[in-house]
Amino acid sequence: MAKVLERKPLTFWERTYLPQILGGLKITFFNMFRRSETLEYPEQRPQLPKAYRGAPTLVKDPEGREKCVSCQLCEFVCPPKAIRITPGAIPFDAPTAHVEKAPKEFDINMLRCIYCGLCEEVCPEEAIWLQDVYSISGTSRGQLIHNKAKLYELGGTRPDQHRKWDKKLAAEKAQAEGGHH
């Protein structure tokens, strides 16, 4: 059964609307003394959540080694095809020669990037991260294609929990010394 709400007839003062207007004026008046919610942008920056997906960047491990091994998985997975990698070899005399490959060129076209984070998800080396970079600007299209130097500049270094290549090197050494694995 429908419930019938009983509406009280408006009193005389309620029908003039004046008390309501005064009430509204009171609210807006005291609103003036409340703290402003404005973030004065270039000086003040918003507090970003930890998992914020900003621009994709390349990172180095704590020793300063570039983590990317140019496997090109991110290039293949990238939905808007924003990433372009030219693989290169690590010279034999380098201390990280056992990693074998590193990108010669690594371009991310920020005009195409959709910040989906698939590159970060697919990377087996944890080399590409979407970090807290969100104000990307440039005066030409060329400036918005981030090259390798720019990507490392934005990325910096990140702590590495796995030490995958150190372990591999240690294992290789142990094998070369005639141990078993």
Partner: protein, 369 residues
């Protein structure tokens, strides 16, 4: 020679008043932006800074935070923007409209008394005179007449723009202004009744109306009259909640849609001049002008210091009212067009007539009240 001196002195006086009014308009725009932002918990304009002000240590920063230099930037923007005249407008009237609406807005301030000065006459008695550009005997009538001319600027703009939204805005403006003009005129009749004494001729002189409020202010004597007049002022100045002429939400910009740069600036200044002059008229009629407080004689001396204080006190009341205009803007939602008409014709006009008749009976029964 005497005439030339009179002409020059009054010319300078008029120039000072107009310059003061114009700069008040500029800062009313700033006040509008600042108070709007405070009510909405924002910060408002706080970036503009004149170079030489930036060197003052603490005050410079404070001036920047309150947007002190913003009016200069806004004004210059209007001046230096490209002045586009659309091809489809009726040119002569298109240019005439903003000028007309500014003239109407500025003319009303000529008869407004905004302070008083004292002169010792031949009998060594202090005589008080109003500080006013022209102390007309029919001051209030003049204001009503001129301020209703303001609608011509709006209607002309709407028609000369020769496109659909300005046209609708112009129609709405004319309908609204004419409706509320009526209620306003009738609402003011009790004021004439009150300020005139039996046997005297003139009661339309604004100075006399101020002088008659040395005791109780008219706001306390005639609250209903004041309320009707207040609502009508809001409608006459096209301020929210009665912004039918502009209707930014449904008519783009209403009558000034086709206007840009300085011509738009004219409309803009005219709107704020209307607001300030409207506030001043309300202060003169209902808040006792420069009278200090009801029944409390003014604490200022009867010399030039007192004159300045009367002007300051008057302006303080006016500024409160300008604040009130902005305050109301962010408190009440806009009316729909038919609601505006309904309020004007079905509520305010009958109320004004009833109010007038009530005071008529009152003054007929107690002629010496």
């Amino acid at each position: 020679m005497e005439f030339l001196k009179y002409l020059i002195l009054h010319g300078i006086f008029a120039l000072v008043v107009v310059v003061a009014l114009m700069s008040m308009c500029a800062y009313a725009v700033l006040a509008e932006r600042k108070i709007s932002s405070w009510i909405q918990n924002r910060v408002g304009p706080n970036r503009t800074q004149l170079p030489f002000l930036a060197y003052i240590p603490v005050v410079g920063v404070m001036l920047q935070r309150i947007g002190f230099s913003q009016p200069a930037a806004d004004g210059l923007k209007f001046l230096f923007k490209e002045d586009v005249t659309p091809g489809h407008v009726k040119k002569f009237y298109y240019v005439l409209a903003p000028v007309l609406s500014l003239i109407a807005a500025l003319l009303t301030c000529t008869v407004l008394p905004f302070g008083s000065y004292w002169v010792t006459d031949a009998n060594n008695k202090l005589v008080e005179y109003p500080i006013v550009l022209a102390n007309l005997d029919i001051g209030l009538l003049f204001i009503l007449a001129i301020s209703s001319l303001g609608v011509y600027g709006l209607v002309l703009a709407g028609w000369a723009s020769n496109s659909k939204y300005p046209f609708l805005g112009g129609i709405r403006a004319s309908a609204q202004l004419i409706s509320y003009e009526l209620a306003m005129g009738v609402a003011l009749l009790p004021v004439f009744l009150w300020s005139s004494h039996p046997g005297e001729v003139s009661a339309l002189n604004l100075y006399d109306i101020v002088q008659s409020q040395q005791g109780l202010w008219l706001l306390i004597w005639q609250p209903v009259t004041a309320l009707i007049f207040l609502v009508c002022i809001f409608a006459e100045t096209n301020r929210l909640p009665f912004d039918m002429a502009e209707s930014e939400t449904d008519l783009v910009g209403g009558f000034h849609t086709e206007y840009g740069s300085f011509k738009f600036g004219f409309f803009f200044i005219a709107e704020y001049a209307h607001m300030i002059v409207g506030s001043a008229v309300f202060v003169v009629l209902f808040l006792g002008g420069w009278n200090f407080l009801p029944y409390i004689p003014a604490p200022w001396p009867h010399n030039w210091v007192g004159s300045i204080l009367t002007i300051a006190w008057f302006l303080a009341k006016v500024f409160f009212f300008v604040f009130f205009f902005i305050w109301i803007r962010w408190t009440l939602p806009r009316f729909r067009y038919d609601q505006v008409m309904k309020l004007g014709w079905n509520v305010l006009l009958p109320l004004a007539v009833a109010n007038f008749v009530a005071y008529l009976v009152f003054f007929a029964l107690f002629p010496n009240a």
